[in-house]
Symmetry: C2
Amino acid sequence: MNIKDIALLAETSVATVSRVINLDERVAEKTRQRVLEVMESTGYKPELVGRALLGQQKGKILVLLPTMANPLFARVLAGVEHRASANGYDVLICNTHRDYDIEKRYLNMVRANQLDGAILLTAAASDEELDAFAALNPLVQCCSRSLGGHISYTCIDDEAAAFEATNYLIGLGNQRIGLINGNFDRKYEIEREKGYRRALESNKIKFLRQYLGESDYNLYDGYDACRRLMELEHPPTALFCSSDQLACGVMKYVMEHGKRPGVDVDIVGFDGTYIAELCTPSITSIEQPGYEMGKTSFDLLLERIQDKEAIVKRVVMAYKLVRRGSTKECAAE
Amino acid sequence: MNIKDIALLAETSVATVSRVINLDERVAEKTRQRVLEVMESTGYKPELVGRALLGQQKGKILVLLPTMANPLFARVLAGVEHRASANGYDVLICNTHRDYDIEKRYLNMVRANQLDGAILLTAAASDEELDAFAALNPLVQCCSRSLGGHISYTCIDDEAAAFEATNYLIGLGNQRIGLINGNFDRKYEIEREKGYRRALESNKIKFLRQYLGESDYNLYDGYDACRRLMELEHPPTALFCSSDQLACGVMKYVMEHGKRPGVDVDIVGFDGTYIAELCTPSITSIEQPGYEMGKTSFDLLLERIQDKEAIVKRVVMAYKLVRRGSTKECAAE
DNA sequence: TTGTACGCGTTATCAC
DNA sequence: GTGATAACGCGTACAA
């Protein structure tokens, strides 16, 4: 059942049917009714593939996530969906697993005119590749940033956030502070380590490599990394984790070994997700404005979709250190 | 840059280029090389839209999730992706928010030949509608089931699982058991309440409506529902929750009010996600084989894609009651 | 106001 | 082995 069949049944031409579908004014009311009736009775819906072939707007965008496991991304997604829906766009999601080939294949859907554009969280491709792609296709980044002149992005200042978190832990009286970070060499991970080290330096605390714990952001990585640090001769008295999930694993280790978070060990997470809220005690965390970042990402993308030459914007949003029970001053919570 | 350009540059015809692309044997080695070189140097990739227009395989399927928040779905997704990747399919995801219109719009992508098929978790549409859709398009369900003769699905026996969990709580000596369930009237929610009530009956415990707590599966719903039940004159001594996230909120309430999970109150969750493992104490939960269900869902879908008349299968998988620290016998964990 | 004809990128068919 | 061409479903410029 295609547009031709409808035209036949409505005793008119494909052009007229197309006009009816696309709300073109210049079609007689009588004809319109006849066409609408036929469409109704046959249950006809235009094949989007035909339109895509014409390189028109598809009304769909893609969000590329590195993983589904972090609730921060669910919040970002909600923000994207909110703005997308208001502008008549559907949002498709895919899971790149931080894999270069998968990321490429999905981005290709944009290139192949299947989608209007894409929002990328945590890229696997190089800055150069991304920039080249963004020069030709609507692409923006979110929660991470890429150098290069063609990609708009929105993110927080990871260096400053890590500095503030570490500084806060020092202010609570901690001198030995562990950092459990991801080991993917991503820009935001590097930034966070930078901020951590800057806070140590500015407080005249010596940086010790042994206090760095690595992780793949897997389920028990926080737990395992914490064990390694706690088995040191002089274990840290505070831990700064690069995600709430890591912090949750850390808490588990700490509590299982008879210590109280917020009393014996201070713990700070990252992202400010519900995980941090639901743990007991709840976890002090750097809260990223996921929902806002999602909304802004879509708006930036829409600008690029509507105008290929739209000016590139880099939006850095405010984060917030939310103090909860896993650090001393709030232990009573 | 399309197939025509390549043909021109390689000094041959579009037909031959198409043959090279599709690994057709009958093309001279010399010609093939020439074409491959041109494709290489131009970085040409076939536009999938053209193929889609011919009603061919698109190599893409869609997974419709009710929400991103439940880690169970991430596991299901991993299973789907594993089998999909092995069969050359890309997996797109979308978030229906349990909304009828959104679900319909995305399913339409399948109808409109944009995708090869869809896997649906938690439908918003009626059984009849879904069945009608499935009669014409490849569609399978996962983690929930639909009556009707055209939909293959895979899920667990929710009634039996709820029965076992409730029975287990009774076996621990509990007589007043609360059920915190979703309030969407979904089949699996109804099944779980049935199992809960059957366990009470078979142990001669009177069912009390006041021990039913509702929720929207939101962040603090477990916490709030728990408060309502705990403020009753005779509060329950055990709580069975319809998700791990709910159970986590329940634990929080319990601990904040000076009671110990697994000692003063027994708590059982549902799904067996990492949330249950990472809490302290960790949470006893009905573990759904998410990864396996995901894999099987894809296999069922592939059968339908490859053969429209493939026989409908209903796969019920084994669940597992995993005992952890939130219930008495394991409180020492 | 309506209809005809073309083009989008690809593959299948058929003739050479 | 190769190439010309029809076909897929749609929107639109242009003609009527």
